[in-house]
């Protein structure tokens, strides 16, 4: 529903431009035949009804999608009105008021939009209900109308003549109308029926009911109704002589000054702008041929310029490179990462592909960081490149490793696309990294696999397929507790998954590197003992403020085990409150740990909050979990 609402708002903004043009046309071309105005309103209707647009370079619509659906999720929500002055004025305000607070689960814009779309639907319902009820009421009041002839009826409840009905429309007149007036009125109303105006007006009202939130479209509807009357007069008086035209004008005036007024419901016909209409009728001249042609040409031009939208995303930039998107950006990152090479001559290199995808708005750029770490008395880091930007494509970068002391223990390459935002900060668009660790391989590119997680859940049976950046592909399968689902979080490291129950996060699944990958050290691990093997878990369990307690093996093999434990940690951000790290109270949750060095050098940690999943459920899940090599 929210999606439909956003779509309607965008369409109504596109249509608003067209409405302004039609209003301008009405001002500039007062002499144009009136049907051309109605035709232009028809274009507005087409714009509002037809959700698709043809792309054209001739389009004058500034932006086909002012509000994008993704805006609700964006860290810095921004409008794209297509007019940069407006964007620059409005967007900082929107960002200031509606940027999501990471501490809250719901995004303020998401809440706003869902509330607005409910209001929208209710509004449509009320408008439709109101007009159906008033139509029925009018119909009821005039049921005793007496047939004058054909489809013409008279009723004491009518003071202003109108046409009512959709399939077989009838003309309703008051009693006691002067005969010459009556004939003029009937000619006018029959012209309405002939032009099928009662359909167009109904259609216009239905469209308005959907777009009721746009005040400009209310004005458009009112002008449309006026122009229908004028166009109808034009048709009615065609072929009349001057005396007949004077009688017709008299009829218009008489119907207007009647003291008691039957207000027309949206589907009936009332009278509008009497002075304007009388003048138009009295001074009517058959429009010149060139005027008709000009009017038609203008309608055509307006149609081409405003029913189309600018080509959304030309795939190529002017110099022939692809515009940046998530997929070619990720490809570019992978291409750079896989070339990371350590050389015998104590240098490290990588190369940048010939073509780097360019962002269309010029706000997103490629940055590369490269560093090397050496062991020694203290660990030292050599920063070779620090988020360097300005890459043109085709570079082969090579730099010498200069250890202050000690041995090389890691080379780290990070490639990312960063976007400048309205508030002057930068946000990450895409990123990836590659890491070289001992034992080093020289003069051979490191290769790179884009990490990914594929979750498959059928009922309570779940499996997760991990592809690691170092090429390991592993499948984790297990049976979830009742009512729990797995979800990926877009911005999280692909190793991180969340567990949801009733839309609340109740836990997570994450992967961590082994403390060591050396087989001679792993050989010392007693997989069956209820003692936490630090060779495996040191990454998480070594620091002072976090770790595993109550480690109980549930099943094991020669090369791995699955255990339950309590994960405890101290929230170091509370340091100010408690004075020292030691004073911060420790918190704990149930967790399952599983590893198998035959499968991959990572262990799986599955966490559950105590309230959501009982200890027995955790224990049964631990007995059931499977970690297997795949791919």
């Amino acid at each position: 529903m929210t999606e439909g609402f956003i779509r309607c708002v965008n369409l109504s903004i596109c249509a608003s431009w067209l409405v302004l043009v039609v209003l301008l046309f009405r001002l500039l071309f007062k002499k144009a035949p009136k049907w051309s105005r109605v035709l232009l309103w028809g274009l507005v209707g087409v714009r509002l009804v037809c959700p698709f647009t043809i792309e054209s370079v001739l389009s004058l619509v500034p932006s086909a999608e002012t509000i994008s659906y993704d805006m609700m999720m964006a860290t810095e929500p921004a409008l794209d009105t297509g007019i940069s002055a407006v964007d620059q004025l409005v967007n900082p305000m929107i960002i200031a008021s509606y940027s999501p607070n990471p501490a809250n689960s719901a995004n303020p814009l998401q809440i706003l939009f869902s509330v607005l779309s409910v209001v929208w639907i209710v509004g449509i319902g009320l408008l439709i209900l109101y007009s159906v009820v008033s139509y029925g009421w009018l119909k009821y009041r005039i049921r005793t109308a007496i047939r004058l002839r054909d489809n013409i009826y008279q009723s004491e409840f009518v003071s202003v003549p109108f046409v009512l009905g959709i399939i077989r429309p009838k003309i309703y007149l008051p009693f006691l109308m002067h005969e010459s007036l009556q004939e003029s009125v009937i000619i006018h109303e029959q012209a309405h029926i002939c032009r099928k105006d009662y359909w167009w007006k109904l259609l216009g009202f239905l469209i308005l009911a959907v777009y009721w939130f746009n005040p400009l479209l209310w004005i458009a509807y009112l002008m449309f109704c006026q122009d229908i009357e004028l166009a109808c007069d034009e048709k009615a008086i065609r072929g009349m002589n001057a005396v007949q035209r004077a009688d017709y004008s008299q009829a218009l005036l008489s119907c207007t000054v009647h003291p008691h007024v039957v207000s027309p419901c949206p589907l009936a016909f009332g009278e509008v702008g009497i002075k304007q209409r009388v003048r138009a009728v009295l001074h009517y001249k058959q429009p010149a041929f060139w005027m008709v042609i000009t009017a038609l040409v203008i309608c055509g031009v307006v149609g081409i310029a405003f029913l189309t939208s600018r080509p959304a995303d030309a795939a190529l930039s002017p110099d022939g490179t692809e515009w940046l998107n998530k997929s070619n950006g990720q490809e570019c990152i992978a291409e750079i990462l896989e070339t990371l090479t350590l050389h015998q001559d104590n240098t490290v290199s990588f190369s940048v592909p010939e073509h780097i995808p360019v962002s269309k708005d010029g706000k997103t750029r490629l940055t590369i960081s490269l560093s090397a770490t050496y062991s020694g008395e203290v660990t030292t880091v050599q920063n070779i490149l620090g988020a360097e930007s300005g890459w043109k494509g085709g570079e082969n970068y090579r730099s010498t490793l200069e250890p202050a002391e000690g041995e090389l223990i890691n080379v780290w390459l990070r490639v990312a696309f960063y976007t400048d935002t309205w508030s002057g900060t930068v946000v990450e668009y895409l990123s990836g990294y590659n890491e070289l660790t001992p034992p080093f391989v020289y003069d051979t590119p490191a290769g790179y696999t884009e990490p990914s997680v594929v979750v498959n859940q059928e009922g309570r049976e779940a499996s997760v397929l991990y592809t690691m950046r170092d090429g390991y592909i592993t499948q984790l399968s297990f049976t979830l507790p009742e009512g729990v689902t797995i979800t990926e979080y877009e911005n999280a490291e692909p190793y991180q998954l969340f567990l949801l129950k009733d839309d609340e996060i109740i836990g997570g699944i994450s992967l961590h590197k082994f403390g060591t990958t050396a087989s001679e050290e792993l050989a010392y691990v007693d997989t069956g003992a209820d003692k936490l093997p630090m060779q495996i878990f040191s990454d998480v369990a070594l620091p002072n403020h976090a770790g595993y307690e109550d480690y109980q093996v549930r099943k094991y093999s020669d090369t791995g085990a699955t255990a339950t434990a309590k994960y405890f940690w101290q929230d170091l951000s509370q340091m100010d409150k408690y004075g020292s790290a030691a004073a911060i109270p420790s918190q704990q949750v149930n967790c399952i740990l599983t590893y198998d060095w035959d499968v991959m050098p990572y262990f799986v940690e599955m966490i559950f909050t105590e309230e959501a999943v009982s200890e027995t459920e955790v224990a049964s899940l631990a007995g059931d979990i499977q970690l297997t090599a795949a791919g």
């Binding site: 009421w137 049921r143 005793t144 007496i146 005036l253 000054v257 027309p264 009332g270």
Partner: protein, 123 residues
Amino acid sequence: METPKVFESEYRFCLILWEHEPIKSRELVKLCSEQLGWKPTTTYTVIKRLSERGILKNENTVVSSLVSKEEVQAAEIDELVDKTFEGSLPAFIAAFTRHRKLSSDEIDQVQQMIDRFREDEKS
């Protein structure tokens, strides 16, 4: 007793009744359908309403009038519109599409426009 006023449409109905009374209500429905363009339900509703107001009586599906044509004509026909009618319609639409109540000045202006046009055409 004062003769009740009738609406114009009811008067047209009574004209048929006076001409044919006493008449079976089924016959009356047929006549009203032919001459007034009424649906059967409309005719029955009007018969009921007028009998409540003492203008006609409906006994064993035979309808006859209780007041004469002359009496009704003397009482004038109430051709005025029920005021409540106005308020029940979508005023929010009406407020825009309706003319503002024209001032007599404006009416005069438009009337003059038409009159001047007629004279110009004559000369």
